[in-house]
C-alpha cells in the first residue's frame, strides 16, 4: 500500500473507459483515492473515481482467500457442461487469459456489448466498408453526418477532441465544419460550432431510421423514388444531404451501433456503408463506427486474432466456432443450455445479469452486484492498478495503460491463469 498522506499527480493518462481513449487526463492519486483533475467527463470520472470496496474474495457469500475462491471456481468449471463467459470489459492481457481458460474448459465467449457490436460485424463480414479513424476525422472531415446516435451521451469529448479542434494539418478551418444529425437531436451542445452555430438536424423517430437509411442509399445510387417524405423527413431534404456528401472533399458518416437498438439494424448500417462506397467513386468518404467503451473492442480484437472470430465463440467442440445467434450469453442462460456463468469485467462495474445458474464473478472492486454469486473475486483495474493495453473504437490505436496506485488487488489475468492451472492438464 502506498503512503496515504502523499498524493501524486499523473499527466497524459489514457482512459480505458471511453471508447475514444482520451489520453490527456490529469489524475491525482492519494493512497487509493483517485481524482480526475482535468479533462474528465461523465464517462471517465466515474470510471477512474469508483472507490475500491471489496478486497477479499467470497465463496457462497463468505469471505475467503484468493486460492480458495479460485479452487471453487475451478470446481464449478470442472462440473459444468456448458460454461458461458461474459462481461468483458477487459484489457488485452485479461482477455488473453480468459480465452485460454475458455478454450481449456470448452466454454463459450460472449461480451455484454456484443449485441451492438454485431450490428457492425455482420456488415463487415457480409459486404465490408470504407472506414476511417479519429485522427483522419480530426484533420480531414469537412462534413460529418451522424446517424441515429447521440454521440455526446456516450462519448462526451468526441466533438471537442476531433471536430472542434483548433487547427488541422491541411489548413482547413475546423470551425466551418458542417454537422448533420439524422434521427434524434443531440442531447447537449457539444456539436455546436465554436461560434455557437448549431448542427442541422433532420429529426425522425428511431423506428423510421431503416427507411431513412434506405432512401439515403437509394438517392446516392440515383434511384428514382415515388415517395416525397420518409419518417417525417422530406426526401428533398435528404437529396440536399446527398448533394452535400457529393460536394464534400472528405465526409464521414458515423453511428454508435449500440444505440441502433432495433431489429435487423445491421441492414440499416449496411445501407450506410453502401452509400459511402458509392460516394467513393467520385470523392472521398468513410464510415466511423463508434463504440468500444470499457474495453469492448479490445476483447473482440484479441478474440479475433486468437480464434479468427470476433465474439460469441464456442470452444465446446474443441475448436472455435462462431455463431452470432446461438452463442449469445442471454440466450444460453434463458434457454437453460448454459449451466454456469463466469463474468469477467476488470474495467466496467456493470453487474452480471441475474440468472438461476451458479455464477462466478471476477470483477473490479467497487462493482455492485444485484445478487451474491457463488464465487466473487474482486480484481484491480487495468489502467489504474495494473499496466495494460486497450483499443480505441477505431480498432487501430491501442493505448498503453498505466499503473497509478498500489491497491494490492490481483489482476484478472492472474486470477484466470490460476483457475486454469487448478484445472490441470487436459
Amino acid at each position: 500500500m502506498s503512503d496515504q498522506r502523499q498524493s501524486k499527480v499523473w499527466e497524459n493518462v489514457p482512459s480505458p473507459f471511453c471508447g475514444i481513449a482520451s489520453d490527456d487526463l490529469e489524475i491525482e492519486v492519494c493512497g487509493e483515492q483517485i481524482r480526475v483533475l482535468s479533462h474528465g467527463d461523465a464517462v471517465t470520472v466515474p470510471g477512474f473515481e469508483l472507490p475500491v470496496t471489496d478486497r477479499l474474495p467470497r465463496v457462497g457469500g463468505g469471505e475467503t482467500t484468493l486460492e480458495a475462491a479460485c479452487t471453487r471456481a475451478a470446481e464449478l468449471l470442472r462440473a459444468s457442461r456448458c460454461p458461458v463467459f461474459s462481461g468483458f470489459g477487459t484489457d488485452v492481457n485479461d482477455t488473453r487469459a480468459a480465452l485460454s481458460l475458455i478454450g481449456r474448459c470448452g466454454g463459450i465467449f460472449d461480451q455484454m456489448r456484443a449485441e451492438g457490436a454485431l450490428r457492425n460485424l455482420l456488415v463487415l463480414a457480409d459486404s465490408g466498408w470504407i472506414s476511417t479513424t479519429l485522427g483522419e476525422v480530426k484533420n480531414r472531415v469537412d462534413l460529418l453526418v451522424v446517424f441515429g446516435t447521440d454521440i455526446e451521451a456516450q462519448f462526451p469529448r468526441f466533438f471537442e477532441r476531433f471536430v472542434w479542434n483548433a487547427e488541422t494539418l491541411f489548413g482547413h478551418d475546423p470551425g466551418r465544419r458542417e454537422i448533420i444529425f439524422i434521427g434524434q437531436a443531440p442531447s447537449g451542445q457539444a456539436s455546436h460550432a465554436p461560434d455557437g452555430h448549431p448542427p442541422r438536424v433532420l429529426a425522425c423517430d428511431k423506428a423510421h431510421l431503416p427507411d431513412v437509411a434506405a432512401v439515403l442509399c437509394a438517392l446516392l445510387h440515383d434511384v428514382k423514388l415515388q415517395v416525397s417524405s420518409v419518417g417525417g423527413i422530406a426526401v428533398s431534404d435528404l437529396k440536399q444531404v446527398v448533394d452535400r456528401l457529393r460536394d464534400a472533399r472528405y465526409s464521414v458518416l458515423t453511428w454508435a451501433a449500440g444505440q441502433l437498438d432495433f431489429p435487423s439494424a445491421e441492414l440499416t448500417i449496411q445501407n450506410l456503408c453502401e452509400a459511402v462506397v458509392r460516394l467513393n467513386r467520385s470523392t472521398r468518404s468513410a464510415v466511423l463506427p463508434l463504440g468500444g467503451q470499457d474495453g469492448d473492442r479490445t476483447a473482440s480484437q484479441v478474440c479475433t486474432w486468437q480464434t479468427g472470430y470476433p465474439t460469441r465463440v464456442s470452444f465446446a467442440r474443441g475448436f472455435p466456432e462462431y455463431d452470432p445467434f446461438l452463442f449469445g450469453a442471454a440466450r444460453l442462460l434463458n434457454s437453460g443450455e448454459a449451466d454456469l456463468l463466469v463474468w469477467v469485467s476488470s474495467l466496467s462495474a456493470l453487474p452480471p445479469p441475474v440468472t438461476s445458474v451458479p455464477t462466478v464473478v471476477i470483477a473490479r472492486s467497487g462493482a455492485v452486484l444485484e445478487r451474491e454469486p457463488e464465487v466473487f473475486i474482486p480484481v484491480g483495474v487495468p489502467g489504474i492498478d495494473h499496466l495494460g493495453h486497450l483499443y480505441r473504437c477505431d480498432n487501430v490505436v491501442a493505448m498503453p495503460l498505466r499503473k497509478l496506485r498500489e491497491s494490492g488487488l490481483p489482476s484478472a489475468h492472474c486470477v484466470l491463469q490460476r483457475i486454469e492451472s487448478l484445472l490441470g492438464s487436459d
Binding site: N12, L124, G128, I130, T132, N139, A286, T304, V396, D426
Partner: protein, 555 residues
C-alpha cells in the same frame, strides 16, 4: 545441457557447406563447436537426414490491424479449416488468415522458426506486436511503414535536410520496435485520401507536391545512412497494373545504386503485350535484378485457390476491389499515417490473368541467377497462404512436376509464357540460401539462418524424399533456440520466440519537432505512442533482440 546431432547431411550455405555429413552440438540454445570428450546429455541420430537452419520467412503478414480485419472478413474461410485443440496446441483456425496460435503451430510444423511482418503502421505497431506475441514457436520482427505519413511528406516537401529525415526514420524504428523500414505505394496511400486514384513514379502528390521517386530516394538514403542492415523494403507504385514492369524498371534505375529490396515483385512485373494487353515482364525484371547488385527481391508467388489480400496500399486495393471474391472488402484511412485495404481473392488456374501471374512468379524465380538476392515468399496471404510453401518449393526443384502443373493452367496463358522452356531446377543448397542464409543476411541476423558455432540453435531436420513437397511439409525434428519443439509432425513443446529489432543512432532533438506535432494534430500523446520494452517483454514470453547497425554508415 549438451545435445549432439549425429551424422546428418548438413546444408549450410552461410558456411559453404553443401550436404557434408557432420555432427552438430547444441548447448544452452546455441550451436557450439565440438566440445571434445564431454558426454552429450541427449543424442539424435540424424543419419540419412538433411539438416538445415530453421527457415525464415522474410515477408509474411502475420500480425497487425489488416490481418485481423482479414480474419473478421472471412468467417466462412475459417469454418472450412478448423484447428482443434490437440496435445499442446490450443484451438484456432487455419487457411487464408489463420489465427495467431495456429499460424505459429503450422509454421513450426513446416520447419520455420522466424517470420517478419512487413507492414507495421507506426500507429498500429503496438497491435502488430501484441498479435505477433501470440504467435508461438516463432521469432518475429516488423518493418515499419513510412512514406505516406504526413510528418515525413511534410519534411520532404519542405526541403528538409536528409539528416532530419534520418532522425525521424530512426526515431520511428525505435518507437515501433522494428527491424526495417517499408514503403508501400510511396505517397500513394496519402494521395488516395486527397482523392488521387493513381500516383506514378514521377507524378506529383496533389497536396505535398512530391513524387514517389523522391520519396523512395529519401527513405532509401535514410535507411542506408542509418546503417540499418535491411535495405528499404519497397512495395512499388502501380501494384497489379498491366504495364507496371516499366514502373518497376524505372524504380530500380531511379534509386541510383542505393540498396533496395523490391517486395512481391511478381505483382510488379506485368507487361501490356498481346491481345489481352497483359503479358509477362519477368525476363526484363530478372535481367534488371541480375545486373543491379544493389537490388534484392522476394517473389510473392501466387498459387491457385482462395485467399485474401491484405495490404497497406489502400489506393490500389480500392482500385482492385471489383475483383473481390467473395464480393466484400474493406478499405481504411488511418491517422494521417497510413491506410489499408483487404480484398479476398480466388486465383483460378483457368483464368488467363491468374495463370499468367503464376507463370510470371515462377519465371522470376528461375531467371534470377543469384539465390542470395531472391527470396521465397507468397506474400502470405496475398499470393497464397504460407502453408503452400512446400508446394512452391517442389515447383522450383522439380521441372517435370512444374510442367505437369503448367499443362493444367489456362492454355492461352501457358502458350505466351516461356516457363515450359526453363530447365532450371533449384537445388537443396539454393533453397537453403533463399529460405535461411540469404534471408538472415538480408535482415542482419548474424546468429540466425546458419549452423556455425555461436548461431542460435534454430534447426530443422528433414527426411530426404524425391517428392520435395512432402519433404518440406513435415520435417522430422524442429529445434527452436535449442529446444525440440516438433518431432515427427507433432508439436512437443511450446516456446515463445524473440522479437528482432535494430536501434540506429540518431539525434533525440527530433522530438522537439515531434512532440508539438503530436499535441497539435494527432490523437495521442507522443509518450503513449512510443512502444516501451515492458510492453513486449513484460509478460515473460518474448525477448527483444537488438541487432547492430553498420558503424560509420552515416554519409
Amino acid at each position: 545441457m549438451l545435445t549432439k546431432l549425429i551424422g546428418g547431411k548438413v546444408v549450410d550455405p552461410a558456411h559453404g557447406i553443401d550436404g557434408e555429413i557432420r555432427d552438430l552440438y547444441v548447448r544452452d540454445g546455441r550451436i557450439v563447436a565440438a566440445p571434445g570428450d564431454v558426454k552429450p546429455d541427449r543424442i539424435y541420430d540424424l543419419r540419412g537426414k538433411v539438416v538445415m537452419a530453421g527457415a525464415i520467412d522474410m515477408h509474411t503478414h502475420i500480425g497487425g490491424g489488416k490481418v485481423t480485419i482479414a480474419r473478421t472478413l472471412l468467417p466462412e474461410d475459417h469454418r472450412a479449416d478448423p484447428a482443434p485443440r490437440h496435445g499442446l496446441m490450443r484451438g484456432g483456425c487455419g487457411h487464408a488468415a489463420p489465427s495467431t496460435l495456429t499460424t505459429g503451430y503450422r509454421y513450426a510444423e513446416m520447419g520455420y522458426t522466424a517470420g517478419f511482418e512487413p507492414a507495421v503502421l507506426p500507429i498500429n505497431a503496438r497491435q502488430a506486436h501484441m498479435e505477433m506475441a501470440d504467435v508461438p514457436l516463432m521469432d518475429v520482427g516488423g518493418y515499419v511503414m513510412l512514406g505516406s505519413d504526413d510528418f515525413f511528406l511534410r519534411l520532404l516537401s519542405s526541403g528538409a535536410e536528409q539528416k532530419l529525415i534520418n532522425d525521424y526514420v530512426a526515431w520511428t524504428i525505435h518507437a515501433s520496435q522494428c527491424i526495417g523500414v517499408k514503403v508501400v505505394n510511396p505517397g500513394g496511400i496519402s494521395a488516395f485520401k486527397f482523392n488521387q486514384r493513381q500516383l506514378d513514379l514521377d507524378e506529383r502528390h496533389t497536396y505535398y507536391g512530391v513524387t514517389p521517386r523522391q520519396i523512395l530516394q529519401s527513405l532509401a538514403r535514410a535507411v542506408h545512412e542509418l546503417g540499418v542492415p535491411h535495405p528499404l523494403h519497397v512495395h512499388g507504385c502501380n501494384l497489379g497494373v498491366p504495364g507496371n514492369v516499366d514502373t518497376t524498371l524505372n524504380t530500380i534505375a531511379g534509386i541510383e545504386g542505393l540498396p533496395m529490396h523490391l517486395t512481391h515483385i511478381q505483382f510488379h512485373s506485368y507487361g501490356m503485350e498481346g491481345d489481352r494487353k497483359f503479358s509477362s515482364g519477368a525476363a526484363q525484371i530478372a535481367e534488371a535484378i541480375n545486373s543491379n547488385r544493389n537490388i534484392t527481391a522476394d517473389v510473392g508467388q501466387i498459387l491457385f485457390g482462395q485467399t485474401v489480400t491484405a495490404s497497406g496500399d489502400s489506393m490500389q486495393q480500392h482500385a482492385n476491389a471489383g475483383h473481390a471474391n467473395p464480393n466484400k472488402w474493406v478499405c481504411m484511412d488511418i491517422e494521417c499515417d497510413a491506410g489499408c485495404g483487404v480484398v479476398p481473392f480466388r486465383y483460378r488456374d483457368k483464368n488467363f490473368v491468374n495463370a499468367l501471374q503464376w507463370c510470371i512468379g515462377l519465371e522470376i524465380f528461375l531467371l534470377v541467377d543469384d539465390p542470395w538476392r531472391i527470396f521465397l515468399t507468397t506474400d502470405h496471404p496475398n499470393g497464397a497462404p504460407f502453408t503452400s510453401y512446400p508446394h512452391l518449393i517442389r515447383l522450383l526443384m522439380d521441372r517435370s512436376f512444374r510442367n505437369e502443373m503448367l499443362a493444367r493452367i489456362s492454355p492461352d496463358a501457358a502458350a505466351v509464357s516461356h516457363l515450359g522452356a526453363l530447365e532450371r531446377e533449384y537445388s537443396l543448397y539454393e533453397i537453403a540460401i533463399m529460405t535461411r542464409a540469404g534471408a538472415a543476411r538480408l535482415l542482419g541476423l548474424s546468429d540466425r539462418g546458419h549452423l556455425g558455432p555461436g548461431a542460435a540453435a534454430d534447426i530443422t531436420v528433414y527426411s530426404e524424399q524425391d517428392d520435395k513437397e512432402r519433404m518440406f511439409a513435415a520435417p522430422d525434428y524442429v529445434f527452436k533456440d535449442g529446444e525440440l519443439v516438433v518431432e515427427k509432425g507433432e508439436i512437443v513443446k511450446i516456446v515463445w520466440g524473440n522479437v528482432h529489432t535494430v536501434k540506429p543512432e540518431f539525434d533525440r532533438g527530433i522530438e522537439k519537432h515531434l512532440r508539438p506535432y503530436f499535441d497539435r494534430y494527432l490523437t495521442m500523446n507522443l509518450d503513449n505512442f512510443v512502444i516501451r520494452d515492458w510492453e513486449i517483454e513484460g509478460d515473460g514470453r518474448s525477448n527483444l533482440l537488438v541487432h547492430p547497425c553498420r558503424q560509420g554508415a552515416s554519409a
